[in-house]
Amino acid sequence: MQIFTCPFCGPREETEFHFGAEAGKARPEPAPEISDAAWADYLYMNEAPRGRAREIWVHLTCGEFFVMERDTVTREVLTVAALPGREA
């Protein structure tokens, strides 16, 4: 059971969090200009890096989405930060 740190609430057990997405994935739009391949890429393709990863998570109990950098091998949480403009 990992411990993640919500930038607003502090360290909590991982069961209080949901994975959102890999950070930095922009939603391709408007829809009519997006190819099937580009949309499928957005929906289904992830980097899933071995090692350092930058991800969006949500703390379910407070509802805030935030950016978390962690190491997927050592499970170390490296940094957490509020979304841009959402700093507490």
Partner: protein, 946 residues
């Protein structure tokens, strides 16, 4: 002859005899005994039957590693299956029963299986269950192979709440290394949790004894416990640390005689693993006979319980550790022969006959040890104590990701430093010998200055022992899962050369003891037959649990109703008074029907009455999420398939929420209460996820200062009145004319009896309906008023079962029941927004992929049939040609108002098949049904306004 109790000695209370039974026979032990020591003292040799061959098996070890003495125990009316006799404290009246034996371990009728062993090689089950008619054999094989019996009526109490704890330092194992680590850390002011599986601290010091810092070891242990507790730590005995998890989380099972076992989750800053080492068996023919025991266990039972394992004892070894065992047994009066495979050995202990360079090749006897062959000579012995070397207990280190290296000098796989977030000290680290353990523990605990000094300081010398491919007979590698050396050879011959494959093919190490006495032997055996080194062979993966943990301990009170508690309606008591019968609907406990009688009949009657007069139901569980602020319209538009920004305040519109893959996630009505205030309804079971999707869009794509999302589901009680008599009923309840006069899909925020009332003319039944919501604390008043006005219009309360019929008659979907993981809104007939909207919304692009454009997508349709209701889940098949699935029935009911079955189905190109007949295939039978529009009742909507 076999085990016997010495006239004195041991840490038992001889003044307190305790009676107990084993396989129905009466026995007596003493307070302080374990079940294992009491049975050993009684001379009972056969404690169980082996898993596969039903061979007689006796006691091997002294703790959680015990592979043979697995016992079902009934104590104070509670039966716990598959306990290790070595870990069960003896209590008066305890009833113990051997496992996998019928009727008893002593006389087991399946013992004949052992004669067939040639026909039960490794992979027997795999080969058998691949054969065409394996099902014929399965039930009898299941009866013959297995462990303890579960009594289905048994409800063991598990009221102990699971505990959470934090420790600066967690020390696992309270032997010399663990004690030294704990004391050093506690002296530095750290909060130390010292956890020990045995009933007392001390580890091997308890039976080997020893002097530390010039005094008896017990003074050192007592000082350690005191120092730990004074520094805010805790010493826990009878506690098995069974799992290492991420971020320093450790799970422990605490056994509390008479008070119910307890589960702990300990979050540790740092960890020292000092779990000791386990003695390995030796490999010779019939090395599984009762009477073959671990040498160290022999000393354990002698010192702690005053029990000698036998009278004519052979101690077989190739290391120094068992010399103390041999000496102590000789002193106790046993006739002891020590066969050491090494030519160069220590001196023989007093009274012991030492054979240098001697190896045991065979144990003789049919039901227990009667003799032994040592270097071709026949030795008349009743007990064989073995020591094949030592295996460090590294399970938790490896669970935490640690890697192992072979230490050739100690012939052991030892932790590779830095590969897991813990330090390892003492025998667990391959440091055999008291002083080495104290040194390592002291350093691991952060001790400065010299480590505690022991009197005897020498390390144990070890010569590697291996199974010998050339030697004969049946040599057991894994006692609990009945794996022999021959099975390992066979597996290697059949190509299972990887240790992970060997494990799965032979089941070696897969028993409930996790192969603690077998794994190294298995590796060594595989290495021997494949001509590789132990290092090249590698190890299997270590996974929690370290030891079997009873489920009730982990569950605690979280079971039955408390396992996944349903949400409950605030008006539950009132519904109960009305005779509601309850069921879990999507995580909410809601009335299924009202009154006595057959549920299906009640639902039919309720549904009919609601159509003919009026029905009332509690819709409070329906999700209500407020979206508030100047940015609300834009957010709701983006999150809904149907545009909501064009709604005027006071109006309602039905819509869908899609996932980005275009699949319908939820449906429901959106009410616009004001220019900047929307109320988004969600299905009862989807409220949390809908709220999260709104939040994600709000924070990711909009200005979060301009719009807020607030789940207000619990704030409101919603009661819905539906049916031709609905208007008359609410007027009778004193609700304003203005509400009664509301037009379809309009909403009003008003007041009733001085409390806020929100009324919406939305309908889930197709009939005239009013959805009335008041703040939850006023729900009782609303319910009472509506109930009082019921009789005048002949209305009834309807449960969810009737409501399901009413909505299915109208073809209204339940998302997740009438839709599946690929259903898009156009499949439900909602094509408009997909064709017309030019702005972005969730899932938009996915509605135009090649998959989304396919002409043969499954579409929602109705089914018309004769006779009984169609089975839900049955597949629609063509009536002619090759049979294939065209789709399936998603909802099916008998319609009381139509007097025939109705059904909803997802059918391939369903809209093109309207009017066609299909087969409905279920359990080998095919019925005919006609594909019709989903709405089978009042398709013109004439009943909408009453």
């Amino acid at each position: 002859m076999s085990g016997w109790r010495l006239p004195s000695g041991g840490a038992i209370d001889r003044a307190r005899p305790l009676g107990f039974t084993f396989d129905g026979r009466q026995f007596e032990g003493f307070a302080g005994d374990t079940l294992a020591s009491a049975l050993l003292a009684s001379g009972t040799r056969i404690l169980g039957r082996s898993f596969k061959y039903h061979r007689p098996r006796g006691l091997w070890g002294m703790g959680g590693e015990e592979p043979n003495a697995i016992i079902d125990v009934t104590d104070a009316g509670v039966t716990t299956p598959n306990l290790r006799a070595t870990l069960v404290p003896l209590r008066a009246g305890l009833e113990a029963r051997s496992v996998n034996a019928s009727p008893t371990a002593e006389r087991d009728c399946w013992a004949v299986l052992d004669l067939l062993h040639r026909f039960l090689p490794a992979g027997f089950y795999y080969k058998t269950f691949m054969a065409p008619d394996w099902m014929r054999w399965e039930p009898s094989i299941r009866r013959m192979a297995g462990l303890g019996r579960l009594d289905p009526g048994n409800r063991p109490p598990a009221d102990a709440v699971p505990m959470n704890a934090r420790a600066d330092l967690l020390v696992i194992g309270a032997g010399p290394a663990g004690l030294a680590a704990a004391r050093a850390a506690a002296r530095n002011g750290r909060a130390v949790w010292l956890v020990e599986e045995a009933p007392a601290i001390g580890g091997a010091l308890r039976w080997r004894g020893g002097a530390i810092e010039g005094a008896d070891w017990e003074a050192f242990a007592a000082d350690t416990a005191q120092t730990v507790e004074a520094a805010g730590g805790r010493v826990m005995t009878d506690t098995t640390l069974w799992g290492a998890f991420d971020h320093g989380l450790y799970a422990a099972w605490e056994r509390r005689a008479g008070r119910g076992d307890r589960h702990w989750r300990i979050r540790a800053g740092e960890v020292v693993l000092a779990a000791g080492a386990l003695e390995r068996p030796l490999w010779f023919a019939n090395n599984d006979l009762p009477g073959v025991m671990s040498a160290e266990a022999g000393l354990h039972y002698l010192s702690l319980y005053g029990v000698a394992a036998g009278r004519r004892v052979l101690v077989a070894c190739a290391n120094d550790a068992p010399y103390a065992v041999a000496g102590a047994l000789a002193e106790a009066g046993a006739q002891v022969t020590l066969a050491d495979a090494r030519a160069d050995t220590p001196e023989a202990p007093e009274g012991v006959r030492l054979l240098r360079g001697a190896r045991i090749s065979r144990a003789r006897g049919t039901r227990e040890v009667g003799a032994a062959d040592v270097d071709g000579a026949h030795l008349d012995v009743d007990t064989i104590l073995c020591s094949g070397g030592w295996t460090p207990t590294v399970h938790l280190f490896c669970q935490a990701g640690g890697k192992l290296d072979l230490d050739a000098r100690r012939d052991a796989l030892v932790p590779r430093p830095g590969t897991a977030p813990m330090q390892v000290a003492g025998a667990a680290n391959g440091a055999f010998g008291l002083q080495a353990a104290l040194d390592e523990g002291h350093r691991a605990g952060g001790g400065t200055g010299p480590a505690p000094r022991a009197a005897a300081a020498a390390d144990w010398a070890v010569m590697p022992m291996r199974p010998d491919p050339a030697s004969g007979g049946r040599q057991w590698i894994d006692l609990q899962n009945d794996v022999t050396f021959k099975d390992v050879k066979l597996a290697a011959q059949e190509g299972f050369r990887s240790v992970e494959h060997l494990k799965r093919y032979t089941t070696l190490g897969m028993a409930t003891d996790q192969g603690r006495t077998a794994n190294f032997a298995g590796l060594a055996a595989l290495a021997a037959v494949t001509g590789r080194s132990v290092e090249e062979t590698g190890t299997t993966t270590y996974r929690p649990p370290f030891a079997p943990v009873p489920f009730p301990v982990i569950a605690g009170p979280r079971r039955g109703e408390l396992f996944n508690p349903p949400r409950r309606l605030p008006l539950e008591p009132a519904h109960r008074d009305l005779g509601a019968r309850w069921r879990d609907y999507g995580g909410w406990l809601r009335p299924a029907t009202y009154g006595e009688g057959d549920e299906a009949a009640l639902a039919q009657a309720e549904a009919l009455e609601a159509r003919q007069a009026a029905g009332l139901y509690d819709a409070s569980s329906l999700g209500k999420i407020e979206v508030i602020g100047p940015g609300a319209a834009a957010l709701v538009d983006f999150c809904n398939y149907v545009r909501m920004s064009t709604l005027e305040p006071g109006r309602a519109r039905y819509g869908f929420m899609l996932s980005e893959s275009g699949v319908v996630h939820d449906d429901g009505v959106v009410l616009r209460l004001a220019e900047d205030r929307f109320l988004v309804s969600a299905s009862s079971s989807h409220t949390a996820s809908v709220r999260l999707m709104l939040e994600e869009a709000r924070q990711d794509r909009f200005d979060p200062r301009q719009v807020f999302v607030h789940d207000v589901t619990a704030h409101w009680t919603t009661l819905t009145v539906t049916g031709p008599g609905a208007r008359e009923l609410i007027l009778g309840a004193g609700i304003a004319e203005e509400v009664a006069a509301l037009r379809f899909m309009r909403v009003a925020e008003t007041a009733w009896r001085g409390v806020p009332l929100r009324a919406a003319r939305v309908s889930f039944t197709g009939d005239l309906s009013y959805e009335l919501s008041v703040p939850a604390r006023h729900g009782g008043m609303l319910m009472q008023a509506l109930d009082g006005a019921r009789a005048a219009v002949g209305a009834c309360w309807i449960g969810l079962e009737a409501l399901m019929i009413l909505r299915a008659e109208k073809g209204f979907v339940l998302v997740g029941k009438d839709t599946d993981g690929v259903t898009m809104p156009q499949d439900l007939g909602w094509t408009g927004p997909r064709e017309k909207r030019t702005d972005e919304y969730l899932g938009r692009r996915a509605l135009f992929t090649p998959e989304a454009r396919r002409a043969d997508r499954r579409q929602l349709v109705g089914l018309e049939a004769e006779g009984e209701a169609l089975p839900v889940g049955a597949h629609a098949v063509p009536l002619e040609g090759q049979r294939r699935s065209l789709g399936f029935v998603t909802s099916s009911h008998m319609s009381p108002v139509l007097g025939r079955p109705i059904a909803l189905a997802l059918v391939e190109a369903g809209n093109d098949r309207l009017g066609q007949e299909v087969g409905i295939f279920h359990l080998g039978e095919t019925r005919r049904a006609r594909i019709v529009p989903a709405c089978s009742y009042d398709p013109e909507g004439t009943r909408r306004d009453g």
